[in-house]
């Protein structure tokens, strides 16, 4: 079974600054995807970024980028130029491509608070 660990319950950052969220996972699989989802107070989960494990290049989406360290089983998210609208819970998630039909295994989440 896979586990996803987010060790930071809450992070605070000022507008325009950079914050990095950590995520580690445990798996014996080699074919998987990793995701970061954002959940604002409205509760709607929104995909921020995805990373295929077979790709060495780190994924980026505008101000969001990841540092994927496969050997270390680490998948951190960097939010650059933070904006007030980035305030939300951020969940790291794992998808095993070998024996599942796309089931997501989520971490416990990190609350990000962006202050003016």
């Amino acid at each position: 079974a896979q586990t996803v660990t987010q060790s930071q319950p809450e992070m605070s950052v000022q507008e325009a600054e950079t914050v990095t969220l950590s995520c580690t996972y445990d798996t014996s699989e080699n074919n998987y995807y990793l995701f970061w989802y954002k959940q604002p107070p409205s509760r709607q989960m929104i995909l921020v970024i995805r990373q295929e494990a077979y790709k060495q290049q780190n994924a980026t989406e505008n101000r969001f980028s990841v540092n994927f360290q496969k050997a270390a089983k680490s998948f951190s998210l960097k939010i650059s130029d933070s904006q007030l609208g980035d305030t939300a819970m951020y969940f790291c998630a794992f998808m095993n491509r070998t024996d599942s039909w796309g089931k997501l295994q989520f971490g416990a989440g990190t609350q990000v608070v962006v202050t003016p």
Binding site: R43, M45, L47, M95
Partner: protein, 118 residues
């Protein structure tokens, strides 16, 4: 393109009562998921449908929870009878099809239903 629709948004019931949640996925999406998100935790998959068939219900408490997707489109999740520990947000998500190509397995989530059991 319309997103995943869920209703109701909020529900308060007494323990031992029954409740039902409804989900309408994005048009054309074959895969539908129901997740339970307890306060302070990440979502946990309860059941997954591929069209109108169940492909994973290993974490569904089948003595009290049931779900159906009769025509392969919208879905209903029911709890009967409810317990205090069922208080949570119930999220529905859909995706086009797993493994059909890059991005087709991306899950899109609805706004969720917040259930409070008193």
């Amino acid at each position: 393109e319309a997103g995943v629709a869920q209703s109701p948004r909020y529900k308060i019931i007494e323990k031992r009562q029954s409740v039902a949640f409804w989900c309408n996925p994005i048009s054309g999406h074959a895969t539908l998921y129901w997740y339970q998100q307890i306060l302070g935790q990440g979502p946990k998959l309860l059941i997954q449908f591929q069209n109108n068939g169940v492909v994973d219900d290993s974490q569904l408490p089948k003595d009290r929870f049931s779900a159906e997707r009769l025509k392969g489109v919208d879905s209903t999740l029911k709890i009967q009878p409810a317990k205090l520990e069922d208080s949570a947000v119930y999220l529905c998500a859909s995706s086009f099809w797993p493994w059909a190509g890059q991005g087709t397995d991306t899950q899109y989530f609805g706004p969720g239903t917040r259930l409070t059991v008193l």
